[in-house]
């Protein structure tokens, strides 16, 4: 029985939250909706863990939806790369579901709680569906499920701050332009190859060779996803969306949404397009490396001058995405490993930080740094969690953040780019400044409130500390993350190398036909 269920794990881990979402609406009770959400996200996380365990040795699972063999039907294709991302998204989803119950009490009108959970489940479904699929158009469909539910979730912040509405609107415009660019790119690819299946696309693109239509397809897919993952000059929607969304939504988005977009980027760059022909490699090296470095510095500096903690963390996210993109665009194995490991570590660290901020908002109703003065004594658990996760953000040894930066610096040194290594260290010092500003306010300043502030509820402390402990654990024991990331990097590089030898691909039409 169990093995029969596990055989369908790929489909189920997306479908369980997808079915749970309408169930919430059908029953229409908020406590029941919470229970359904928690159960569905836990089940989904278990399936994801199972898939990760199955693929950690480098094997690939293929699941044919509707029983139609690809490329005729839609295929779910899981390898170490996306299994790892699935695991991140689903497990963060489960923790956020636990955390949400108390957090939304204060920030969202109780009449809307059922719809909050529904939108959250849909967002989870969308992110999981984007990650697991092996079909290029299916990516778009699930991307839009996650995007539309994200706009809704951000707009729910309007109960606390009306600017959530304009943040959601701007995100909608930018996100839709991004998605449309992506669709244009897919359309061009379809025109050239006649297929939508990613593996099939990879073979046919390799056989095609360089081509102007292909170049433009690449550019549009790159820019489209770049908008979704807040790549440096395209990040303008992110700070407002993260700052005005309800706290729990900020937690979930910061920990998962951009990570999934990075994954899609990886998948298209390496598996679908491959790096064989110069155009993409040149684009990445000459455009993305400088952009990533600018993001690391400019956003960190902007973060230093923020008076709102959520906003500060949002800018810090843009900078951290810079590290991930830098690792990827080095185009070597250590760089890729660094990028993927940082994907995971940053998800855990930012998740923990935003959870701590959510607890402050829950108790004192503000996330402005000056209102947090003295909170270190009043909410010791959450303040300590913030500091511990903040150390990870800086990259202090024995935290997960250190591991990512260690790999990243190694990767730059492998390329002989010692100046990049220096820049990475330099930008980490900026993180010290903005984290210190908060620590200073929390511990060294006199409390603003005379009235005692109550401790955060357990249902918020527990998930926060699970995240914090994870960030510490994965800073000491890198077996799981290191293995998953290096297997993933190997797979991605292999995918590119296979395409370098198109004659080994059976059945692909000869170039120039």
């Amino acid at each position: 029985m169990l093995s029969a269920i596990l055989a369908h794990a790929p489909a189920l881990q997306t479908v369980v939250p997808l079915i749970a979402a309408p169930l919430c609406v059908l029953f229409g009770r908020r406590h029941l909706a919470w229970a359904i959400t928690l159960a569905a996200s836990l089940i989904s996380a278990l399936f994801a863990a199972y898939l990760l365990a199955q693929t950690l040795d480098g094997s690939v699972i293929s699941y044919e939806l509707g029983g139609w063999a690809p490329p005729l039907g839609i295929e779910y294709r899981i390898d170490a790369v996306n299994a790892f991302v699935l695991f991140i998204v689903a497990s963060v989803g489960a923790l956020v579901a636990l955390y949400a119950r108390e957090s939304i009490e204060q920030e969202i009108d109780p009449a809307l709680h059922v719809y909050f959970y529904t939108a959250f489940l849909l967002c989870l479904t969308g992110l999981l569906g984007v990650t697991i699929t092996g079909d290029a158009f299916n990516v778009f469909v699930f991307l839009e499920i996650s995007s539309l539910s994200t706009y809704t979730l951000v707009a729910l912040g309007a109960g606390r701050d009306q600017r959530a509405l304009t943040a959601a609107y701007n995100y909608l415009i930018m996100g839709t332009i991004g998605a449309t660019f992506f669709v244009i790119g897919i359309g061009f690819l379809y025109m050239l190859t006649g297929t939508l299946n990613m593996a099939d696309l990879a073979e046919r693109i390799a056989a095609l060779g360089d081509n102007r239509t292909l170049r433009i397809a690449f550019v549009f897919i790159f820019v489209g996803i770049g908008l979704k993952l807040a790549m440096f000059p395209l990040h303008l929607w992110l700070p407002n969306a993260y700052s005005y969304a309800p706290s729990v939504v900020s937690v979930f988005l910061a920990a998962t949404a951009t990570k999934v977009a990075v994954y899609v980027m990886l998948r298209f760059l390496f598996t679908v397009f491959g790096f064989d022909y110069g155009f993409q490699a040149a684009t990445l090296q000459t455009i993305v490396v400088p952009l990533a470095v600018i993001a690391m510095f400019a956003s960190s500096i902007v973060a230093i001058f923020q008076s709102d903690l959520k906003r500060m963390l949002a800018y810090s996210s843009v900078a951290q995405i810079g590290y991930i993109l830098l690792g990827i665009s080095l185009l070597n194995k250590p760089g890729l490993t660094a990028g993927i490991i940082h994907l995971f570590n940053h998800a855990v660290i930012k998740g923990a930080l935003f959870m701590a901020v959510g607890a402050f908002v829950y108790r004192i109703g503000s996330s402005r740094i000056e209102d947090l003065r003295g909170i270190g004594k009043q909410m010791p658990w959450m303040a300590a969690a913030f500091v511990a996760a903040g150390l990870g953000l800086i990259g202090v040894p024995l935290t997960a953040g250190f591991i990512s930066k260690w790999y990243l610096i190694q990767a730059t040194l492998d390329e002989g780019a010692w100046w990049l290594a220096l820049l990475i260290v330099g930008s980490s010092l900026l993180a010290v400044i903005y984290v210190w500003r908060v620590v200073e306010a929390m511990y060294l300043a006199a409390p603003v409130q005379d009235a005692p502030v109550k401790k955060a509820p357990w249902s918020m402390i527990v998930p926060t500390w699970i995240m914090v402990l994870a960030s510490l654990y994965f800073g000491i024991n890198t077996e799981l993350t290191g293995k998953a990331a290096s297997t993933a990097a190997d797979l991605l590089i292999q995918a590119t190398q296979i395409e370098k030898a198109p004659e080994t691909v059976p059945g692909a039409p000869a170039a120039g036909e």
Binding site: F137, F140, L165, T166, Y169, I177, T180, Y190
Partner: protein, 131 residues
């Protein structure tokens, strides 16, 4: 010879170019206009132009709609782009509905649907907060 090539090249590609002109107009409206409703209209235009691109890909000259008639000599246009665009149209209307609902709420809170006036109000809020 060259003339012949260029005219056939135009005939073979004019469809795509017309679609691209429509896309440009749509994108220009989205980026240049400050009125929130107008932006959504522009976005719709942009997306509809992309739909046309896909449908152009599916067209076979001399073909008919892919509804099987039983005649073995019939040439059918490619059904796959049609299916993709049916999905995309639905996604488009979903986005439009969501965007418009946001506009209604923004108007209730800010009293305007012009981007620059909203920006002024938000700056004012910022100033009050830091004061």
């Amino acid at each position: 010879m060259f003339d012949d090539f260029s005219s056939s090249f135009i005939i073979q590609h004019y469809n795509y170019w017309m679609v691209i002109v429509l896309m440009m107009v749509g994108l220009y409206i989205v980026v240049s206009r400050g009125n929130l409703v107008k932006k959504i209209v522009g976005l719709n235009l942009f997306q509809t132009a992309v739909f046309m691109l896909y449908i152009s890909v599916g067209k076979i000259i001399g073909g008919t709609a892919p509804i099987l008639t039983g005649n073995p000599d019939e040439v059918y246009s490619n059904p796959l782009p049609h299916v993709l665009i049916l999905t995309a149209i639905v996604v488009g209307v979903a986005t439009t509905a969501l965007g418009l609902a946001l506009i209604v709420r923004i108007n209730e809170r800010y009293g305007t649907i012009e981007e620059d006036e909203i920006a002024d109000i938000e700056q004012e809020i910022d100033r009050q907060e830091s004061a």
